[in-house]
Amino acid sequence: MLKLLWLIPALPCAGFLTLAFFGPRLSRRAVALIGPGVVLASAVVSWSVAMSFFLAPPPGGAFVQELWTWMDVAGFHPKMALYLDPLSLVMMLVVTSVGFLIHWYSTEFMAEDEGYSRFFAYMNLFVASMLVLLLGDNLLLLYLGWEGVGLCSYLLIGFWYTDPANGRAARKAFYVTRVGDTAMSLGLFLLFTQLGTLQIQDLMREAHDQWGTGSKLATAAGLLLLGGACGKSAQLPLQVWLPDAMAGPTPTSALIHAATMVTAGVYLIARTHVIFEVSPTAQFAVAAVGAATLLIAGFSAMTQWDIKKSLAFSTISQIGYMFLALGVGAWSAAIFHFMTHAFFKALLFLGAGIVIEACHHEHSMFKMGGLRKELPVTFWTFAIAGCSLAGLPLVTAGFYSKGLIIWNAYASAGGSMVLWLAAVFGALLTSIYTFRMIFLTFFGEPKAHVVKRPGAAMKIPVMILAFFAAVAGFVETPGFLGHAHVFSNFMQKALPEAVERRGLGMSELGSEAVVMLAFLAGLAIAYFFFLKKPALQESVTEPPVGQAVHRFWFSDWGMDWLYDKLFVQPLWWFARINKRDFIDSFYAAVAAVTRALWVVLRSTQTGRLRWYAAVIVAGTILFVALALVAKP
């Protein structure tokens, strides 16, 4: 079955081609069949490949399928090859399954939208490029998928192109991710010139052999790759684009900006973990970026009124957790959190989509309320996902994955007390804004009357995801709860084990207990603030300090304003003043000088005879004088 590996990315690609060329002519039903159908087929193939991978694991724990040589230029010969190992297998399964559910959901969500076939074409292209990214055996092929995914996010964010605001948001997303991509390409150059190959596996071996730990080159390469990852996964310096990316249709946000694309950065760092192991500084940078981002995004998420923006900030925060896990060396924990996060975040977005659709495209949470009774299914699934995000102990998957990361943040080699504290405080923030969202939308007195009930195509995927959000956690349980390490054992082959550091001040149980405490505290605060006495909110945000802080957090810690001032304005200013291309004026100046000379010379021809005679005489005088002077 492994031979069919190439089929997995090929199917969505074929879907894209058919929809792109013949889409407008096909009926809506046909498009609805092709779009999700292709992704379903790809999911089925990937599950069967997974089965054969489990049953008969290929030698060395990885399977390489070589298609053709991309280019062969004097020593640089990247191949178009697909590489399957536990890491890419898990990612692939998540992407295809969650992808299919979202496709199925959007058949109804986008039902009355006129760009129906175009939407599914882009979604299929996205799944295809994401799979190429995951399965790419060569960093260049990974880069191809990387940019393809960026392109699709641009196309899908700007899907409703009639509104220029969407266009601007889409372009902003593409510029910022492209900044990350440039950093990453520089990293690729560095890696190739130093280590002579871009084949990931050989690269890892070469990096391990040639670079001793702490070598400056490895740090540089690591930081450049981190730059690329930050761009794509909207981490600290480059996270401004994700909140604006909510301008796209909700299924897009669910698929791209929650489950799959934003975690591409996590995948990249996990895939090139050897480089980060070799240079501790780069690894620490990853952890630092992760910790800082999760706090900042956590605070900002609390102040958002738009339900999707709040979810976007929560995504940034959760990915911050994954980066933190990667930073401290808990590779499998990060991937585990990725899996659980994909389930409940996609579910949250889909739920939000239903809610928005129900309240006649109303995005503001404050205008919704009391939807508990009208949308029961949505409420329950949304609540499950919310609890999983916040980390409801013992029952939800989120608790396990986040707990593991928080524990590793303290216990593992790169971990420290500061990181642990940041992680715990982040957990508190997470539960606050999650329950704030749930209470605002579903509890309290109903402000908006429900316009549209979700149909079957929306409810079933949501329910499936809810099931996964709850169950997925039991694959990896902490020591005192059954000590199941199914997931990390499986990942063992691809990623190194998180090593405990000695002299731990705290046991895993203690850390889990603190996390539970944080969850409960968050729940209480949210309940107290947003359900019991809504008036209390004004009391916090009214005083000038509160207002300033609120505005500061709301605008993503002023990042937007800063980047706008730093990059966008000067460019526009230069474009405005230099439209006429000042180099051109040099040549225009040359033309002007010649014209001026012409005018001067013309005036010498007065037409009067005597003037000419005088000039002749002057000439003779001059020549005679010259002759005299020259005569020795």
Binding site: Q605, T606, G607, R608, L609, R610, A613
Partner: protein, 82 residues
């Protein structure tokens, strides 16, 4: 030569021109005499021929000019300006 430059009347210009040509002829003859060869005078004859031709054409032009502009002021005829 001063006349050539100063006078505005075309006739006077021509006359001063004649004087200049004559002076050249004088120079030639004197030089010829000085060296004792006849070349100077031969040259003088050529100069005479030139002067004659020049005067003939010059005066014809003067007449035409007068016909056209009714005056002999040389600055009037400056259409060839600029």
């Amino acid at each position: 030569m001063i006349g050539l430059l100063v006078r505005r009347n075309l006739l006077f210009i021509l006359m001063s021109l004649e004087v200049m040509v004559n002076a050249a002829g004088l120079a030639f003859v004197v030089a010829g005499a000085g060296h004792g060869q006849a070349d100077g005078q031969a040259m003088f004859i050529f100069i005479l021929a030139i002067a004659a031709a020049e005067v003939a054409v010059g005066l014809a032009l003067v007449l035409l000019l007068y016909h056209r502009y009714r005056t002999l002021d040389v600055d009037v005829a400056s259409q060839l300006r600029g």
